[in-house]
């Protein structure tokens, strides 16, 4: 496969990730029996936000406005290592899953610093929750990717995902689906989707991610939300790649399949959000624990 397609997939991720949010909202609107916002609404929002300036409190320092930019940069950096379907990422090296995970963590850390910089109690609370749940989700993510690596004997994410269909035949699909299921639960935790966090709530007390970015406005919140969209795209690509381990010889079909998979995951997230209530905060670790047990089971099953 030519490297050109890797860059095409990277470009598609950058341009189409806001549409992912639109698809989730449209799915939720469908299940609620509403017309819903147009699919392109996230793009309109981003255009509006990026034309605005920022409003900064006198108590904040440069850390406050640097956080969202650094977060977006970290998300873009991670994206260069995440394959779309069978198409390898623009860059890859053995063990690049740690690069992806820790560059996302770095972005989150800087966002937490920005939140603490405001000195607001709500932001501190949101930051504390965000860090706690991502701390629990991180090992689960690693164990599931490790399982896929054991199955495929691959070292980098592109290698692992590129050879999944070939190994599926004699390893069985159940291992791959178990690991994919664990990654899907991690997706819900990391992207603050419903059973874990309600992205549309208006009550600061129950927020996780949204509470952390409460004081950001204008162009800064645009950066934050765009970074979140990219992150959602990355995790969706990882989940879709594991759940639909098929490949075709034509690169064009490959790209189409990869994008279709990502949007299928977005629809699935929308369905989960419409059919479930948010878990109580103390029940969230239990969900992550379940994901951990699933990942462990996949690993044991792969190494049996």
């Amino acid at each position: 496969m030519t490297p050109a397609f890797s860059f095409v997939s990277f470009g598609l991720a950058i341009t189409l990730s806001p549409l992912l949010l639109g698809v989730i909202q449209k799915t939720k609107a469908f299940f609620a029996g509403r017309e819903g916002a147009p699919l392109m609404q996230p793009y309109f929002d981003f255009v509006k936000l990026f034309r605005k300036g920022g409003v900064y409190s006198r108590t904040t320092s440069w850390v406050f406005w640097a956080g969202p930019i650094a977060n977006l940069a970290a998300a873009l950096l991670s994206l260069t290592f995440v394959p779309l379907g069978r198409i390898p990422a623009p860059a890859a090296f053995p063990g690049d899953v740690f690069m992806v995970a820790y560059s996302l963590s770095l972005g989150r850390f800087l966002m937490v610093l920005a939140a603490l910089d405001t000195g607001s109690a709500f932001e501190g609370m949101g930051a504390s929750r965000e860090v706690r749940f991502s701390l629990l989700a991180e090992p689960v993510f690693f164990v599931s990717v490790l399982t896929l690596a054991v199955v495929t004997q691959g070292a980098s994410l592109s290698e692992i995902y590129g050879t999944l269909p070939r190994h599926m035949v004699h390893q069985g699909i159940s291992t791959i689906w178990l690991a994919g299921g664990a990654v899907a639960l991690v997706l819900l935790v990391e992207n603050a989707r419903i059973p874990v966090d309600d992205p549309t709530t208006h009550l600061e007390l129950t927020m996780i991610h949204e509470a952390m970015v409460l004081d950001h406005g204008g162009i800064d919140i645009g950066f934050v939300q765009y970074g979140a969209a990219l992150k959602l795209w990355m995790f969706s690509a990882l989940v879709a790649g594991a759940f639909f381990p098929f490949s075709s010889a034509r690169p064009f079909l490959e790209v189409m399949g990869g994008i279709g998979g990502v949007f299928a995951v977005a629809v699935a997230v929308g369905i989960v959000e419409s059919s479930m209530a948010r878990l109580r905060l103390i029940r969230v670790p239990q969900l992550i624990l379940l994901a951990g047990v699933l990942a462990l089971m996949a690993l044991l099953w792969a190494a049996r």
């Binding site: 069985g172 699909i173 239990q286 379940l290 089971m297 044991l300 190494a303 049996r304």
Partner: protein, 215 residues
């Protein structure tokens, strides 16, 4: 074909997690019923030669007893005793799930030396799954308060024993399995009646409070 058996066994493992981690008794009963159905399907899909009449009949019987009759009995017992939730087990559910993960690792570990002596044609995941189902049942029995969930644990354990039999014997002695099935059915039947009696006598089925009864 191995892919399908693989998938079924993984489903069985997932039902175990469901039994371990759920506080709702109806959900646990459904999970145990699903286990019975899965056992029957696994039995059918494992028999390599064209389906022999005896195996098919036994699978059907298994389906009827473990998938339909026993869950029905348990649901009735649940209604009679009017309990629907395991309110507070001795160990909380997160710890139970964690223990479940540990037990899963343990069963894969202890199944490893046994794999060598098992007939080479058997599915590799079958033996650890049997151990895990057995240990899950045991864990449910020792950590739950309600007599009803303990019965469920007993049934899970029995499913594990049965799966172990499937994984070891190529041509299983059907008569013995039939006898065991009858025993289990009778036992659950008796337990259902006992449950009802305990409930009528003491207004609850918490077993830990039964042990302190003195003259």
């Amino acid at each position: 074909m191995t892919g399908i058996v693989d998938f079924l066994i993984v489903l069985l493992l997932l039902t175990n997690l469901r039994i371990l981690g759920s506080s709702r008794i109806p959900a646990c009963i459904s999970a145990v019923a699903l286990q019975g159905v899965l056992l029957a399907v696994i039995l059918v899909s494992l028999s390599s030669e064209p389906l022999w009449g005896g195996t098919a009949a036994f699978a059907l019987l298994l389906l009827a007893v473990k998938g339909v009759v026993l869950p029905w009995l348990l649901r009735r017992a649940m209604r009679d005793a009017s309990v629907t939730r395991e309110v507070e087990p001795f160990v909380d559910f997160s710890t139970l799930l964690l223990l479940g993960g540990g037990l899963m690792g343990l069963s894969f570990l202890i199944a490893r030396p046994l794999q060598v002596s098992a007939p080479p044609s058997t599915e590799k995941g079958l033996l650890p799954s049997a151990f895990f189902t057995l240990l899950t049942g045991l864990l449910v029995i020792i950590t739950r308060r309600k007599a009803l969930t303990q019965v469920l644990g007993y049934l899970t354990m029995e499913n594990g024993v049965y799966l172990f039999g499937v994984s070891q014997a190529i041509r299983e002695p059907l008569l013995i399995e039939l006898g065991i099935l009858l025993d289990v059915m009778a036992a659950v039947f008796v337990m259902g009646i006992v449950l009802f009696q305990i409930n009528r006598e003491f207004d609850h089925i918490d077993t830990d409070r039964l042990s302190v009864l003195k003259e």
